[in-house]
């Protein structure tokens, strides 16, 4: 332990050097970019001109990929995948790569600040002693039941700390939320697994070893649950090796996602019919095998389903034949679950896997193993649970709200009006690293370190059939006057509640949690003393079991259940189904990383903005052209978005990516007019979402119908692609 603390100290020293010498000089040659590090401030084992690599865990989403950060003279230079890490095997996604632009983002909150008027950008800087006093007072002067914590989906060690705090002092148990978990409908998936297999948790789909993948809306190559791991699985699915043929991939969805774009068969079914289609396929497969149609599939008529789903019966039969003849796996996810019958969809699709007899088998569905230190799968809150929290806030039952890791003001549907609910909370304290919308609505912002500056661990919820606890450590010393939220809470809670959490600091807390694994057998490394164990934990970037830790589910009765064979209900009036989806490049919180903004969207190649995808035929009938700004009106709200004529979307559907539409969150997430006023960049489809839930309590975000209005204005979208070369614009005769 002392070893790590001392290293942290000299990292701090190095960081001081970085902060003081990073000031750039005026004009001159290119060498002006090189800032130098004084030799005497280098860590003792650093060699000038040589890079040092630190293993840690990416927190850009909750997947918990292991990364190795190359540092050079006290600066983080490059993120690489941790090749040892079983989840991502050395690979990273674009969001992980650009996490450095979060670390070095010019819009970070550099000091603790106090805001006299919520929502006002103006604030005054505080020192940490006063800040700690504020937190202490907040904990001390309120009843524990009036204190609530709203946490993000990452930083599991903080979640554990607050859970411990809740257990020992009686403050409300922490609520976790992230837009990704909303759009992934994790609660639905977990509930379906519980209903069918008797165990809650995220199933893991071993697509790599399957021969045919049938995905019902799961955007597993983009942001879905663990995209890097699933992309590797997809890659292995596609690679023909020896006797293994190239695997087939069928995607059912109403709007071609980046995942669907890679499918061999892309089936644009009418939204809301996913469950029926899955059941019909089940029935056809059973008939193909000449077996008795299981009860769960017996309630549907494939011909009727084909008509309801707006697809050809032959196509359905063809797909069923594919399913029957190969080692198949069916994956539910994404917009298919975010509908009124989302749970039915998930159950029907999982039942297909039971029919394919692949549960717990290679190329099939596993129940994800519990991560080390975990006793049950702790899923993020569903929107129904968030609504309950907001109602508590509105009722004045919550006097102090601590917010960390998420940006609920931006991410939650506007219809939930969390901004108004915050108004009913006496004191809102944010630990945000960036000045996001939630921090703007807080009385205090006590900035946490960026994750590359802080300690921690992250549990791998799914993505690999091993239990993995991914370790995090600082790769650079903190750049600014920030402080770890764990340390803040430890100090304040000790002042407020005595020795409720008896830890000296964050590192000691981590130690207490991680060291429990030392005795476990089959670990990725072993050590005889605690210090070596902790050192290895940091060095390897975590601890995991070496052998398969999946639990085999019981699937005996699944096929005998009765399925809810109905089309989903859609809320609101209008001619278009609305499909909101998470931007594959930005994710939920990437909008403030300029390079993520400049990455071309995988399907539309749009950069830096929000668009609405519309079928060109529909648009032609409505007299709508590319870049026309249209108003989308739902029963909950309206937004204005420029049009992208997208050839691969149903004519009765429009789709909008989530990720833009910030009014705060830094200069790259917003725009400015010529007078320097901050304006919204793009639009936020969460503003359109009305509050309807599926049976699992997840928001039916894809269960809405909307109408559109032309505004007569245009907003040119920045695309990487050529409209001339890709869509033959201006060359109609060609």
């Amino acid at each position: 332990m002392s070893e790590q603390v001392s290293r942290r100290d000299f990292l701090k020293l190095a960081g001081l050097g970085a902060a003081t010498t990073a000031v750039l000089t005026g004009c001159g040659p290119a060498s002006r970019y090189v800032t130098r590090e004084p030799y005497q401030q280098m860590p003792e084992y650093n060699l000038v001109g040589h890079s040092t690599y630190y293993a840690t865990t990416c927190r850009e989403c909750a997947a918990a990929c292991g990364i190795v950060v190359r540092t050079y003279q006290g600066r983080a230079i490059k993120v690489e995948g941790n090749a040892n890490h079983p989840l991502n095997l050395g690979k990273t996604c674009a969001r992980g790569q650009t996490s450095l632009q979060g670390l070095y983002n010019p819009d970070r909150v550099t000091d603790p600040i106090k805001r006299s008027v919520r929502g006002d950008v103006a604030s005054e800087t505080m020192n940490w002693d006063d800040a700690l006093q504020v937190v202490t007072d907040a904990l001390k002067n309120h009843k524990p039941s009036e204190i609530a914590f709203l946490l993000g989906t990452s930083a599991d060690h903080l979640f554990d700390l607050v859970t411990d705090l809740a257990n020992s002092t009686g403050v409300n148990a922490p609520v976790r939320f992230g837009a990704l978990s909303m759009f992934e409908a994790r609660a639905t998936l977990s509930k379906a697994a519980e209903n069918l297999f008797g165990q809650a948790g995220l199933p893991w789909f071993d697509i790599a070893n399957a021969q045919a993948v049938f995905s019902f809306g799961a955007n597993f190559l983009e942001t879905w649950i663990s995209p890097v791991s699933y992309t590797r699985g997809f890659s292995n699915l596609r690679k023909a090796e020896g006797l293994k043929p190239r695997g087939q991939f069928v995607q059912f969805e109403s709007r071609m996602s980046a995942t669907g774009a890679r499918a061999d068969e892309w089936v644009p079914l009418r939204p809301g019919t996913e469950a029926l289609v899955a059941l019909a396929i089940g029935k056809l497969v059973a008939e193909h095998h000449g077996m008795e149609v299981p009860k769960i599939f017996s309630g549907v008529d494939p011909a009727e389903v084909a008509e309801q789903a707006d697809i050809e019966l032959e196509a359905l039969e063809h797909i069923a034949k594919m399913f029957a003849e190969a080692k198949s796996i069916a994956v539910p996810g994404g917009a298919a679950l975010g509908q009124s019958n989302g749970l039915a969809v998930a159950e029907a699709v999982l039942a297909l896997n039971v029919l394919a007899d692949n549960i717990g088998k290679a190329g099939g569905v596993y129940l994800s193993p519990l991560a080390p230190t975990e006793t049950e799968y702790q899923r993020p809150a569903s929107i129904q649970e968030m609504k309950a929290l907001i109602e508590k806030m509105n009722a004045g039952e919550i006097k102090v709200l601590f917010v960390h890791g998420g940006n609920p003001v931006f991410e939650l549907p506007l219809a939930l009006n969390i901004r108004g609910a915050l108004g009913n909370v006496e004191q809102v304290i944010s630990f945000a690293t960036f000045p996001d919308e939630t921090a703007l609505e807080s009385d205090y912002v006590f900035p946490d370190h960026h994750f590359l500056e802080g300690w921690g661990y992250q549990r791998v919820a799914t993505g690999v059939n091993l239990p993995v606890l991914s370790g995090a450590q600082p790769v650079v010393s903190p750049l600014y006057n920030t402080r770890s939220t764990v340390d803040v809470l430890l100090t304040a809670s000790q002042a407020a509640f005595g020795n409720a959490l008896p830890f000296k600091d964050e590192v000691e807390f981590l130690h207490s949690k991680v060291i429990a694994l030392m005795g476990e057998a089959g670990g990725s490394f072993s050590a005889t003393d605690e210090e070596s164990f902790m050192a290895s934990f940091q060095q390897y970037g975590g601890w995991w079991k070496k052998s398969n830790g999946t639990t085999s589910a019981s699937d005996s009765n699944v096929l005998d259940k009765t399925a809810n064979a109905e089309v989903a209900e859609f809320a609101g009036e209008g001619e278009f189904f609305l499909v909101p989806f998470v931007s594959p490049t930005l994710g939920e919180a990437g909008a403030n990383k300029p390079w993520l903004q400049e990455l071309a969207d995988s399907t539309t190649t749009v950069m830096w903005n929000t668009w609405v995808e519309m079928n060109p035929e529909t648009a032609h009938h409505q007299g709508i052209h590319n870049d026309d700004l249209i108003k989308i009106i739902s029963e909950a709200g309206e937004i204005e978005v420029p049009v992208y004529l997208y050839p691969a979307i149903r004519p009765d559907t429009i789709a909008i990516p989530f990720g833009q539409g910030h009014i705060a969150y830094g200069r790259y997430a917003t725009t400015t007019d010529e007078n320097g006023n901050v304006l919204q960049r793009g639009a936020n489809p969460a503003d359109l979402l009305s509050i309807h839930f599926n049976e699992a309590g997840d928001l039916a975000f894809a269960g809405m119908k909307v109408r559109i209005e032309k505004t007569g204005r245009t907003k040119p979208l920045s695309r990487l692609e050529s409209r001339i070369g890709v869509y033959n614009e201006g060359m109609e005769g060609h």
């Binding site: 990487l720 692609e721 050529s722 001339i724 070369g725 890709v726 201006g730 060359m731 005769g733 060609h734």
Partner: protein, 482 residues
């Protein structure tokens, strides 16, 4: 001189009146001689008589030069090419359009003075200087446009054929390097070629002016007197230049075309580009000469004596010939691309004919081929100065469109259709206005500072003319002194 020939020299006036049609005579400068002293006076007056209108135009141009040329260029250098409209794939934009355009304009001067000199075309005499001035000033604009185009213009000396600090020489594989050498050769030789025939006229002006003008002319005249030796050296050198500058002229525009034709691109990679560009240059250059002559005649004193219908007529004929030749090469280039059937060239033709810039393509055909071909055959039109200038103007618009189509519009189409983007000019518009303003500014300045009519050449021409009686008619004959 034959016995039947009557010399048309100064004394001719005193001869018994010929019963020639006076009106017809007025068409021909050579048959309407004035004493040299009178011509000198007229030329000097045209140079020194300046109306307030001139100064108004001059001041406006000066403001344009200061803002659209000097300031805009400074801004471009300070900010980088981002303020221009260039992008991927149109890495080259209007700056190179302007370069090609101005080099094209510059060709007329050389063509008129060198080729017509070699072939002893008499009508050239009064306007060779005006055309040569266009060459020099046009080349200045062309050179400036190249430098505007460079990403790091402050390092442009790295292009010179001298080694850098690390003894690295430039790359002579590069068409741009050939271009640099060719344009350098051309700009130096055409400036000297402008200057050498100017020396006797400068000496004339020196003898007829006072004050700062006298000093100015004295310095520029280099001490020329007109001795037999001086004339001999001068005319020898001028003959050498006349012959040498013709291949240089052809090489320059051919090499300019090779900047494009050497590239591995659809539309550009064409073996006919060399002559096509040369003819295009002459096409726009002739048009520009017509405009300049019209303006000179309109605005400058006594110019209606020197520049007459015969000159417009002859120029019109030349323009007609060039039109046909240009049409031939245009069609040649087009059908080659059209027939080839290459995927990318096909796409390019579709882009030109149906894309957003297709109006330019059709205007090109109308302005460069149709209008001149259907008007210039008419003698009345040719002899009407403002009409000829108008046709010259239309041709120049058409030729500008041609270069615009070749550079940024053709650059849109390449072998990577994912990158096709349309080019939209930005600061280039101002800088284009700036180059035109600078050209006119220089020209107006020159019209006040140097004799725009080569008086000695006109006199030489008049001396060589005579009328020869054939039957009842008297026909003009021409002989050269040499």
């Amino acid at each position: 001189m034959t016995a039947t020939a009557k010399p048309y020299s100064k004394s001719a006036k005193t001869h018994d009146a010929h019963h020639e049609d006076e009106h017809d005579m007025k068409q021909y400068l050579m048959y309407d001689p004035k004493p040299r002293g009178e011509m000198n006076r007229m030329v000097m007056e045209s140079m020194t008589t300046t109306s307030w209108k001139f100064w108004v135009v001059f001041a406006i141009l000066g403001v344009l030069v200061a803002t659209c040329f000097v300031y805009a260029w400074g801004y471009l250098i300070a900010e980088g090419l981002g303020v221009a409209g260039v992008n991927r794939p149109s890495y080259w934009g209007i700056f190179l359009v302007n370069t090609v355009f101005w080099i094209g304009i510059s060709h007329a001067g050389t063509f008129i003075s060198a080729i017509l000199r070699v072939f002893k075309a008499e009508f050239r005499r009064p306007f060779t200087r005006a055309a040569e001035l266009m060459t020099t000033f046009g080349l200045i604009q062309a050179g400036a446009s190249i430098f505007m185009h460079l990403g790091r213009v402050w390092l442009s000396y790295w292009l010179l054929p001298i080694p850098n600090q690390r003894m690295l020489w430039p790359n002579f594989h590069s068409p741009l390097m050939w271009d640099l050498l060719a344009i350098t050769t051309y700009i130096l030789s055409s400036t000297i070629y402008l200057f050498m025939p100017l020396i006797p006229d400068l000496a004339m002006a020196r003898d007829r002016s006072t004050g700062w003008r006298k000093t100015f002319f004295k310095i520029l005249a280099l001490g020329f007197r007109g001795t037999e030796g001086e004339w001999r050296h001068l005319t020898t050198a001028m003959n050498i230049f006349a012959f040498a500058i013709i291949p240089v002229m052809f090489s320059v525009h051919t090499i300019v075309s090779w900047d494009f034709a050497m590239a591995m691109r659809p539309g550009w990679s064409s073996s006919v580009f060399g002559p096509y560009f040369v003819l295009g240059a002459l096409h726009s250059g002739m048009g520009a000469v017509a405009i300049v002559l019209f303006i000179m005649r309109l605005t400058m004193k006594h110019m209606d004596y020197f520049i007459r219908k015969e000159h417009f007529d002859a120029l019109g004929k030349l323009m007609l010939i060039v039109t046909f030749a240009y049409t031939y090469f245009f069609f040649n280039d087009y059908i080659l691309q059209w027939y080839g059937g290459d995927k990318w060239t096909d796409a390019l033709l579709h882009w030109l004919e149906e894309g957003p810039m297709s109006w330019m393509f059709y205007q090109l055909i109308l302005f460069n081929l149709v209008i001149p071909a259907f008007t210039l055959w008419n003698k009345k039109i040719r002899q009407t100065p403002w009409l000829l200038a108008l046709i010259g103007f239309i041709i120049n618009i058409g030729m500008y469109w041609e270069r615009y189509l070749i550079v940024p519009v053709m650059l849109t189409i390449n072998r990577a259709p994912f990158t096709w983007k349309l080019y939209q000019p930005n600061i280039e518009i101002f800088l284009t206005i700036g180059t035109f303003a600078t050209f006119l500014f220089f020209y107006m300045l020159a019209s006040r500072l140097i004799p725009l009519i080569p008086v000695w050449e006109v006199e030489e021409g008049q001396m060589t003319h005579s009328l020869r009686k054939v039957g009842k008619a008297e026909l003009p004959t021409i002989s050269e002194f040499e």
